[in-house]
């Protein structure tokens, strides 16, 4: 295989050299700190081997924030290059690499883990379960994601980043045109983390269907959990298409097959179809959980039940179904013909209807509510106009004949950032603020959070509104520079200022987190927002086993009803006589080791080193066999220990 790394690139490029130095220094510092403070054992016992959904969720969230930083740096670099015409801050090759890693990382290694973070942190607590259905598999999902992301990120310093766009269209991404290891990195990183994503879909579907507390019928389920249910189904139906698209492209590149090549009968459009059969549902995979967050946040901070609960659920289901019928809108220009394009154009526009239903329901929830403008609520409220504009430009793009003009222009770039940032990122940040006290037992500082909010929001419009104009003026995406005198200079300059403002906003969030660790208000009640759903009936952070006794749920928003005196509040506190030994899964280091084996296979395939594949493959097989023969997988927490914990929390009843 002809994928020799450009080793020379290691030392000649200042940016890569800088990254090398940074990586080495950071790693040394981490190793030093862990050794000095004797934390290796702690790291292994508490985190690397954990199967606790709460900890896995926290790890997902930290990883997502780190990747938001990495993707954000990529974005700032690109915007710097485009600030003025004819700059040579980045050359064409670098620019290509950076938009590729930016897009790939933001979607697959920022948005996805952020979504999974909230799945993990919230769902079991919201439905009254002690963990997910398959905790061990959950750990595997996380570590596969982690090592997939790792693989993607080392590409920059070892051998060269992928540079064929986050969509990786052949024939450009085929061996003939992308002959370094970069494209292999992309394929393997996505493949490895993708396996984890499918497992997560299975896990949460089964968890939600089978592990709800007694009395919690589907129609009493909180809307966030509903959104996770819909998302899990989307993952299960969409991700296999990505798996196949990536696998076939990898076969083309490594074994010389002809699925998507220009020769011997290959058909590149087949890849593009498979990619978007996954890709369009993927945008709903990252937006529906954000919708779920908004439903929770808006109803809590309006002190009202969500308006139109049934229609909210209906809208989620409708979006999930129709979301599978729109993928061709990403390539109306393929020339599939008027009838095909018409079908997909109309299907795309139809999605605006359930989405609109949801937006109006959120507005009606706020209407006459007693609104509290906390941080999560601010992001939720900011989401509505942002998403409305993004949705409207989306409908414009869906007009197939007009799309021949917008296609691949900055109009499109502005549109999808508006929905991805205004929808997913706003939603994830709102969710992070909202459930932060539940995870860590303290609140994030309001004042710094407001600075972050305003910088990020104003920056957002300054950055992306000019790009609609640029698109209409003819600026296409994925160009690394442009000549002066086209009228593009001013909007580009403004846009770059906006990107910097957003960057400052992000830094405020980092500062806010660090500051609040020390000074943030502690959450002693477990219910700092006066919440409605079950997770707020638990202390913050929740004990290892979540619920000492599982409450019986007698209504929608049962915790809120109990606080209003409509239900018995004591039903949510454990009674001494009801406590039984609690069945829990044991920790295991195998998910971590298994994922390292996958990583080794990945490296082997990236560079065409067969022994690595063999070693990694044997490792995977060995781990799976060991697991199959393992019978001692769980244990019981004794009653005394539960009683002790609960009475220390002051929750125990008679």
């Amino acid at each position: 295989m002809n994928t020799v790394p450009h080793w020379g690139i290691f030392i000649t490029e200042p940016m890569i050299l800088g990254s090398d130095v940074m990586i080495v220094l950071t790693s040394v510092a981490i190793v030093f700190a862990l050794t000095k403070f004797k934390k290796w054992g702690w790291l292994w016992r508490e985190w690397l081997t954990t199967v606790d959904h709460k900890k896995i969720g926290i790890m997902y969230m930290i990883a997502a924030l780190l990747m938001l930083f990495r993707g954000g740096v990529d974005a700032e670099l690109m915007r710097t290059q485009l600030a003025l015409p004819n700059l040579s801050f980045l050359d064409a090759e670098h620019y290509d690499e950076i938009f590729t890693t930016h897009g790939t990382i933001m979607i697959l290694f920022m948005a996805m883990p952020f979504v999974f973070a909230l799945f993990n942190i919230v769902v079991p607590l919201q439905i009254g379960a002690r963990d997910v259905a398959f905790p061990y598999l959950n750990a595997i999902s996380f570590w596969l994601f982690f090592f997939g992301a790792f693989l993607m990120n080392i590409s920059f310093v070892i051998g060269g980043s992928p540079d064929a766009g986050w969509t990786s269209y052949p024939p450009l991404s085929e061996l003939g045109f992308s002959n370094g290891p970069g494209q292999n990195y992309y394929l393997l990183a996505l493949q490895i983390s993708g396996i984890g994503s499918i497992a997560t879909g299975i896990n949460f579907l089964v968890t939600i269907l089978k592990m709800r507390a007694p009395g919690m019928t589907l129609w009493r389920m909180p809307l966030f959990t509903w959104s996770v249910l819909a998302t899990s189904i989307l993952i299960l139906f969409a991700f296999p298409a990505l798996t196949i698209a990536l696998a076939l492209l990898l076969l083309d590149r490594t074994l010389g097959t002809h699925f998507f090549t220009m020769l011997h009968g290959g058909n590149p459009m087949m890849f593009i179809n498979l990619f978007w059969i996954w890709g369009h549902p993927e945008v709903y995979i990252v937006i529906l959980p954000a919708f779920g967050v908004f439903s929770e946040v808006i109803s809590t901070f309006s002190r009202k039940a969500t308006f139109g609960y049934g229609s909210m659920v209906f809208a989620l289901v409708a979006i999930s179904i129709v979301g599978f019928l729109t993928w061709v809108h990403h390539f109306f220009t393929m020339g599939a013909g008027a009838d095909v394009n018409t079908f997909f154009a109309i299907a795309t526009m139809v999605i605006a209807i359930p989405t609109g239903v949801k937006v109006f329901n959120w507005l009606f929830t706020m209407y006459r509510g007693r609104i509290r403008m906390t941080l999560p609520m601010m992001w939720a409220v900011a989401f509505i106009p942002c998403f409305a504009i993004g949705g409207a430009t989306g409908v414009m793009l869906a007009v197939a004949p007009a799309d021949y003009q917008y296609h691949n222009s900055y109009f499109l770039i502005a549109h999808f950032h508006q929905v991805l940032i205004g929808g997913t990122v706003f939603g994830m940040i709102a969710g992070m603020y909202y459930w932060w006290p539940k995870m860590f037992g303290f609140l994030l500082d309001e004042r710094l959070g407001k600075w972050a909010f305003w910088f990020f929001n104003i920056g957002f419009y300054v950055c992306f509104l000019p790009q609609y104009a640029l698109g209409l003026m003819g600026m296409t995406r994925r160009i690394y520079t442009y000549p002066a005198g086209l009228g593009w200079t001013v909007p580009n300059f403004i846009s770059t200022i906006g990107a910097y403002l957003m960057g400052i906003g992000f830094l405020f969030i980092v500062w806010q987190v660090i500051y609040s660790v020390k000074y943030g208000e502690r959450d002693v009640t477990g219910d700092p927002w006066d919440g409605r759903t079950l997770e707020w009936s638990l202390p913050s952070p929740a004990p290892h086993y979540n619920f000492a006794t599982i409450p019986t749920i007698e209504g929608r928003d049962a915790w809120w009803m109990a606080k209003q005196g409509q239900l018995d509040k004591n039903a949510f506190l454990p009674k001494k006589s009801d406590i039984k030994p609690i069945h829990m899964p044991k920790n295991s280091g195998r998910p971590f080791i298994l994922s390292i084996c996958f990583f080794i296979i990945g490296i082997g395939l990236v560079f065409g080193v067969v022994p690595f594949d063999v070693i990694g493959g044997l490792g995977v097989a060995f781990c799976m066999f060991r697991r199959s023969f393992e019978y001692d997988t769980d244990y019981y927490i004794p009653v005394d220990e539960v009683i002790h914990t609960e009475s220390a929390l002051g929750r125990l009843q008679g």
């Binding site: 089964v206 269907l209 139906f237 296999p240 798996t243 196949i244 699925f259 090549t261 009968g265 290959g266």
Partner: protein, 217 residues
């Protein structure tokens, strides 16, 4: 792994093979809560695997005429061979079913016997398939020759890999049956591997029809 919603567990796990039963009234593989969850989880997994195959089928159908002047299915496929493969796999699905049947009647040795027969049938299926592939490759019909052959080898090969994996998996379960007999846990394993095996049979029926029968027509 085990699950956590046990609200009303009365007694502790002893060491060894004592298995805590949540639902004694159910069929043995469903008697632990964990078992019931895993069976449902596996159904869901099969649904995603089916979609995986659907994507490969779609690719094959798009590319099946893209032979680039090279060999076509009609020239390559050998009717007796793929008919034999089909019969063997269908029979193995039946013997796998008999294993489940004996499991419910509590006959450990018969379960093991039927599983061994199933695995051996699977092995002969894989043998025939490998043989077929090698023959085709020797005639110059390699997966690099044309898009049609790339799609053919990948689709049929993916199924073959699934079957091979199933054989290894079944072997592991046979060993566990020897060690532990029929318990709610081993019963669940037998049940799930059989679900997998039947699923591969269903996929093969489509392969037989779409790849082979339509190929030689």
């Amino acid at each position: 792994m085990t699950t956590l919603a046990h609200n009303n567990v009365e007694h502790h796990h002893g060491a060894g093979d004592h298995v805590h039963v949540d639902y004694p009234e159910r069929p043995i593989e469903y008697q632990t809560q964990d078992g019931a969850l895993k069976i449902l989880g596996f159904w869901v997994f099969l649904a995603t695997d089916l979609i995986l195959f659907a994507c490969l089928f779609a690719t094959f159908i798009v590319l099946r005429t893209h032979t680039d002047g090279g060999p076509t299915g009609k020239e390559l496929f050998d009717v007796p061979i793929f008919t034999a493969e089909t019969l063997i796999l269908l029979t193995s699905s039946f013997t796998g079913g008999l294993a489940t049947f004996e499991m419910h009647r509590g006959h450990r040795n018969r379960v093991i016997g039927w599983l061994i027969i199933t695995a051996l049938l699977g092995l002969s299926f894989v043998g025939l398939e490998v043989n077929e592939f090698v023959h085709m490759a020797m005639e110059g019909a390699t997966m690099q020759r044309s898009a049609f052959l790339s799609a053919f080898f990948t689709l049929v090969g993916t199924h073959g890999c699934h079957v091979s994996l199933g054989i290894l998996w079944m072997t592991g379960i046979i060993i566990q049956l020897f060690q532990r007999g029929i318990t709610p846990i081993t019963a669940r394993k037998v049940y799930i591997v059989n679900m997998y095996w039947h699923f591969l049979d269903v996929v093969w029926v489509f392969l037989f029809t779409i790849v082979y029968l339509m190929g030689v027509m």
